[in-house]
Amino acid sequence: MELTSLTIGEIRNLLTQKKVSAEELTRGHFERIASKDTDIRAYLTLCPERALEQARRIDRLIAAGEPLPALAGVPTAVKDVIVTRGVRTTCSSRILENYIPTYDATAVERLEAAGACILGKTNCDEFAMGSSTENSGFFPTRNPHDLERVPGGSSGGSAAAVAAGLATVALGSDTGGSIRQPAALCGVAGMMGTYGRVSRFGLVAFASSLDHIGPFGRTVRDVALMLRTVAGRDPYDSAAAPAPVPDYESELDQGVSGLKVGVPREYFAGLSPQIGDNIQKGIALLEKLGTKAVPISLPHTDYAIASYYLIATAEASSNLARFDGVRYGFRSPEYSDLREMYEKTRDRGFGVEVKRRIMLGTYALSSGYYDAYYLKAQKVRTLIARDFLDAFKEVDVILAPTSPVPAFKLGERLDDPLQMYLADIYTVNASLAGIPGISVPCGKTRGDPRLPVGMQVLARHFDEPRLLRVAHAFEKAGGFEID
């Protein structure tokens, strides 16, 4: 039996029918990791004892005929910016190379309470800053579809793990597209809920007004099950929304007939045909299912990258001030006074992209520039959010490409940070507005090799049920393999 391509539902059936044990399932994944992850390098740290202990707990429940929790025995990967008690959490940064958290993130705690088996921690761009996972302080991760290419980022390890059968599902984090873009480049589903839908407690902060934790899966149903498990209020995160969490799964099959699907013209102007053709086919497929495609405009789209990179870096420069060599992490051994200790610790501990962003953010917040950069960016953020609110008066969901390009080759874009930032053009808008978005596979590019294309579905704040319904209908109609 192939254990590493199962869905959550299939795992549940196999476990309850006693065709496989949770321990066998977990061991099967570690075997595959041992043989495949030497090339892909999705994982930074494995935690087999923790996973197997949980698996045996599930097996005891099954033996005793007890009811099984929602994610019983599901092999799960966790991005290494999310803390795990007793398991090294590095944020893919040298500055946290030996950091062992003393607590679990709320999302991790909820996954384990629901029976998930956490296999290990996945590689990413350092502190989630990047779009290729090449900014990891340890090593790059490779795209399972073509090992010469990046998996996207920053949650590239989680996306690659799910795509390659090294985990059934995974957690990532999304600040400006860091779940959706690697999902697109690796050919899996990845979702960012409404801002505040999932508690950020235990997510090492990058940009607090934009940070999200969210799930990856190979099916929309798996994403829905994961989201339901981790979402909801949390006394440890005051931004975690108190709104009740719907049973997303039960609404998946309610169909999409009559829904109005917005197609924003700004997202298609200048889009290369290798991506655009697939998205157009995706829109046509949804029309066949009874939706109505409506052309819309999100007029401030072109300003989103500028607004995002000012706000995100400004918040990052403040959040990353905590890494100073005092309470945790690396401390430079050479210094003569406190100030020099800070400066050398941070210079040696942080990688180049993190330093670049701290510099940009510090500049944007510095005396004399605050109004011109940070405040201006926040005002433009208001305009971008308003664009979406206006659009959602006319349509139920919005469809868009996730990334303007498919997976690119390692090293291809590293020398030009601005070009790398511009590749986030289709994802940062939803982040700024705080609305939910999912990226689902939408066929592959022409040419050789054929690479995955991702399509985004965006919805109103807290309208995850409708967003998931559209994504699920698209999947059921063959949208993932559209040709």
Binding site: A241, V326, K379
Partner: protein, 100 residues
């Protein structure tokens, strides 16, 4: 170019980063081109627009806010476990107060 090497060094000082000469030279044109790019925000008139500092939703006061009561979180040992240097139950740092 609007940014100077002096600016880069000043910002590095604010950010507690000891940049090497090579890093300053590398960052200068990169930061400059990013700042030039973000200047496009000035094409928009935002004189009547409120800044958006946070995604907020209408409704009653957020019940996620809990009462401010002291309670045990981590033990001192746990809190110190990741410290690069510690002494007598405290985080140890280089001397910051000069002796007379």
């Amino acid at each position: 170019m609007a940014l100077t090497e002096k600016d880069v060094r000043y910002v590095a000082e604010l950010a507690h980063l000891e940049l090497t000469v090579a890093e300053v030279k590398k960052f200068l044109p990169q930061l400059d081109s990013i700042l030039e790019y973000v200047n496009k925000l000035n094409e928009l008139d935002t004189s009547q627009v409120e800044p958006m500092a946070q995604v907020t939703f209408g409704g009653p006061e957020n019940p996620s806010l809990r009462s401010d009561e002291p309670r045990q979180t981590f033990s001192r040992e746990e809190a110190l476990r990741n410290a690069p240097e510690q002494d007598a139950g405290y985080f140890k740092v280089p001397r910051v107060i000069e002796r007379e």
